[in-house]
């Protein structure tokens, strides 16, 4: 019965359809207005081009959006991800360069390939600290019964302070080639960050769709009380999604700091939480919780990143870029609004009648 619906119909009804349309429109715009936008070159065995650039630069956002999707699906929100990015970056760089920047920067000569801590330990420590940040948020929300927006606001504000404490208020620069690979490396000609996105995406997909976690998350997001009556441990489900969001922010922090080879507690991941929420919203997961799609959120992140890249490419001044972005986002959100669509439909049908 369900199979009788054509593949196209099911695709149109699915959650990834509209985000894909939005992405397609941006691509279409570029096809006309941005020269060489779709050109892919191979230099030194690496793929180069605007498209690769979008994916590479959008990687942290895509990973954050995956974590944020699960939080939002439980009718929550995680405002602290930007701050956790900074914490993760701070932890990683301090472990590589515990001199807090001073000693090594003091000499003009850049020291190559120095680390105080082995790379696996650096990565694990950063992710562990991020997971603890998520755990803190999760405890406040699930055990403290604090509204998610307020609970995560605490860490959003405090987190940058914590990052400052870790870095001693300095911008920490590192000189350690293996670490640079995380954000800048290429594997089989493709940016390494893309593999990271894939790993995070596949892991969360397996967790949510091949275990009962996805069903519980959606159930809790739609009706906490019914879920509780049905024996779902709604507190632990909420705890879990914040931990996942924290770890995702940790990975994003590694990418960001590796990318710029430094950690700036004040500016690393600044405003990321809002972009991540926006990506989820563009992906069509409702802020009121319930049904979610990880793929749609990833596409939502790509929409945001390609918009940014496009504006740089066609030379929109940086100051105006935010405004243009806001307009595009508004149009996308309006398209989701059933009320707006009804109004639009009415306007269109009236025109048809007249003509």
């Amino acid at each position: 019965m369900a199979q009788s619906k054509s593949f196209w119909k099911r695709f149109v009804d699915s959650q990834i359809f509209w985000p894909l349309v939005a992405l397609g429109l941006i691509m279409l715009f570029n096809a006309f207005f941005t020269p060489n936008f779709f050109k892919l070159e191979i230099k030194d065995g690496h793929l180069f081009g605007s498209l690769i650039d979008i994916i590479n630069r959008g990687a942290p956002l895509m990973i954050l959006a995956i974590g944020m999707t699960m939080v939002i699906a439980t009718e929550g929100v995680d405002l602290s991800v930007g701050a956790v990015v900074a914490i993760s970056a701070a932890v990683a760089t301090v472990l590589i360069n515990p001199a807090l920047g001073q000693q090594l920067i003091a000499s003009d000569k850049l020291v190559e390939n120095v680390t105080a801590t082995p790379l696996p330990v650096v990565i694990l420590a950063a992710l562990l600290v991020s997971a603890l940040c998520g755990l803190w948020n999760g405890l406040l929300v699930s055990r403290g019964n604090i509204q998610p927006m307020v609970a995560t606001l605490v860490l959003m504000v405090a987190g940058r302070g914590i990052a400052q404490l870790i870095t001693g208020g300095q911008i920490i620069t590192v000189y350690f080639t293996p670490y640079f690979f995380i954000g800048n490396g290429y594997l089989a000609g493709v940016p390494f960050t893309l593999f990271l996105v894939a790993v995070v995406g596949i892991f969360t997909w397996l967790l949510t769709r091949k275990t009962a976690v996805g069903m519980f998350v959606e159930s809790v997001g739609i009706n906490v009380k019914s879920s509780f009556y049905s024996g779902v441990n709604e507190k632990n489900i909420k705890l879990l999604v914040y931990v996942i969001s924290g770890v995702c922010a940790g990975i994003a922090g590694l990418i960001v700091s590796s990318n710029v080879k430094s950690a700036d507690a004040n500016n690393a991941g600044l405003g990321f939480e809002l972009d991540a929420i926006l990506a989820v919203v563009i992906g069509g997961t409702l802020m009121t919780g319930g049904r979610f799609s990880l793929a749609a959120s990833v596409i939502g992140a790509l929409v945001i990143q390609s918009m940014t890249t496009t504006m740089y490419a066609i030379g929109v001044p940086a100051m105006a870029a935010q405004a243009v972005k806001a307009v595009v986002v508004m149009v996308v959100i309006l398209l989701y609004s059933e009320q707006f669509r009804n109004v639009a439909n009415r306007v269109f049908t009236r025109k048809e009648v007249r003509s």
Partner: protein, 506 residues
């Protein structure tokens, strides 16, 4: 009628339909100056719709409202207030973090040269409260006082905002203890003496007899009648609310031939000893045996749902013990109950039962999956198989298992909830109002299912407002009144007359 000049409000021929429900049908209601008028009826009787019509929240489809001999159309709650109709709702809508004086005079603070004159404000508040004999410190925050005081502050505020002629109190005593209720009643008597007409909505029968002058009874959206409280017996009140006349009662056949409740050879499956929770249900003893259906009879708020919630672990007891198969229960939570083999189909299907946007399949397997834990995920093939099995077994009408459950009718949603619990293979199945708001066909199916489950050896608790249905399915009936287990009836004692007498407390 000598009283006719005393009538302040008449509502005549009021009807209001919602999609699929006739909430009110040709209802008449009249109210006199200086009387306390109880509005009674079970859930869905139309009490709240009638109040909504009177306070301008809903417009009636037909009918006329006359206030002080003038025909009026109440356009909005604000308009109702202007007309002198004030309502105090069950949930108090005041600000607990402001002082008592601020709450009473908010928006109308006395001013001096543009600033609030705090002294005069506090004095005014004291003055207003004294009119109803309440002497409290008005500079304390409202939240520091008991619910009863808060309720009374809400009442005096309502009285003071407009020159209130009609005061509507919607379940004001539901969260008050005996002393607080007495306090509230003395305020109500005082107001009555001052000529205010009070509409009092409650489900506590004793309180109705204590305070009200007249009673209007609604049932299924229709007016049953209005009565002087003195001339209506407890029993008549209950039978009018539940919809069985005394004549009918006597003619109910007593030819139940199902297994008799005596001769329990085995040990009880569940055993409650002085189990209770303050403010919800007084301590009670209860034994549940294999293969029996135990009916709970009592009005809404009598404690029947509260017992169900305790047995299932939704609420935690603060008194007594519960044993399951001889072992003391230590952990009270739905999940641990499911693990033990207890299931509860909750009273409020929408709020605590269905997960409306999930599919029929997901709703059915939810509790079973919760019991298995997140790792041992049922494959989608297995889920569909389970869903199909129960869709067939319970005759659930749905185009496919993938249909969101919100698109199903009430009866089918209820069956989905039953399927959810049957899938966990429970030993004890508690059904709280499983037949509310569903059509007759589905009702009968559910009743049959309950009996057949008991025949398979399961223990069922069947809670319903409809006595007839409790009688038809149960082997033993627990009667509750005012948050207290009154008695257990078995065998020949199980007849409507006796049950109603017990509920009515006469």
């Amino acid at each position: 009628m000598a009283d006719s000049d005393q009538v302040i409000l008449t509502m005549k021929g009021i009807s209001r339909a919602f999609p699929g429900v006739q909430a009110l049908q040709d209802v008449d209601f009249n109210l006199r100056r200086g009387e306390i008028h109880a509005l009674m009826g079970e859930n869905g009787a139309g009490k709240s719709t009638l109040i909504k019509v009177l306070t301008g929240v809903e417009a009636p489809d037909t009918g006329v409202i006359t206030l002080e001999d003038k025909e009026v159309q109440v356009r909005s709650p604000q308009h109702a207030q202007e007309l002198g109709i004030s309502t105090v709702y069950q949930e108090i809508n005041l600000c607990p973090n402001l002082t008592v004086a601020e709450n009473i005079l908010i928006g109308r603070e006395p001013r001096r040269t543009g600033r609030i004159d705090w002294k005069r404000m506090n004095a005014q508040a004291v003055d207003i409260l004294e009119r109803v004999d309440i002497g409290i410190d008005v500079t304390q925050t409202l939240g520091s006082y008991s619910v009863a005081i808060q309720q009374m502050v809400a009442i005096v505020r309502a009285l003071d905002v407009a020159s209130t002629k009609i005061l509507i109190l919607d379940e004001p005593t539901s969260s008050l203890d005996t002393y607080e209720t007495d306090q509230l009643f003395s305020v109500m008597r005082k107001l009555k003496g001052q000529g205010t007409a009070i509409i009092f909505i409650t489900h506590f029968i004793d309180q109705v007899y204590e305070i009200s002058d007249r009673i209007t009874i609604l049932r299924n959206g229709k007016l049953v009648g209005d009565y002087d409280t003195n001339s209506l017996t407890h029993l008549e009140l209950v039978s009018n609310m539940l919809g069985r006349t005394l004549v009918e009662l006597d003619s109910v056949s007593k030819s139940r031939s199902k297994l008799v409740a005596d001769g329990h050879t085995s040990d009880p499956v569940m055993q409650a000893r002085q189990l209770g929770s303050t403010g919800a249900i007084d301590p009670f003893d209860l034994d549940l045996y294999e293969g029996e259906v135990v009916g709970f009879a009592g009005l809404l708020g009598s404690g029947r749902t509260e017992i169900a919630n305790l047995l299932f672990g939704v609420d935690k007891p603060d008194h007594g013990t519960l044993a399951y198969n001889g072992k003391a229960v230590k952990k009270f939570s739905p999940l641990s109950s499911i693990e033990r083999g207890v299931a509860l189909s909750p009273e409020d299907r929408k709020a605590a039962g269905i997960v409306d946007e999930l599919s029929v399949r997901e709703n059915i397997v939810l509790a079973m999956q919760a019991n298995r834990g997140w790792l041992r995920y049922l494959s989608s093939a297995k889920q569909t198989e389970i869903a199909d099995k129960y869709i067939k077994m319970l005759n659930i009408v749905t185009p496919s298992p993938e249909q969101p459950v919100k698109n199903l009718s009430g009866g089918n949603q209820q069956k989905v909830i039953l399927a959810r619990w049957l899938a966990t293979n429970p030993q004890v199945l508690i059904l709280d109002e499983p037949t509310r708001g569903i059509d007759v066909g589905a009702k009968t199916e559910i009743q049959k299912l309950v009996v057949s489950l008991a025949e398979e050896g399961k223990t069922c608790i069947f809670i319903s407002s409809e006595l007839e249905e409790v009688l038809r399915t149960s082997d033993r009936i627990v009667v509750l009144r005012d948050q207290e287990k009154i008695t257990e009836l078995t065998g020949d004692e199980m007849n409507e007359t006796l049950i109603m007498q017990t509920i009515a407390g006469s």
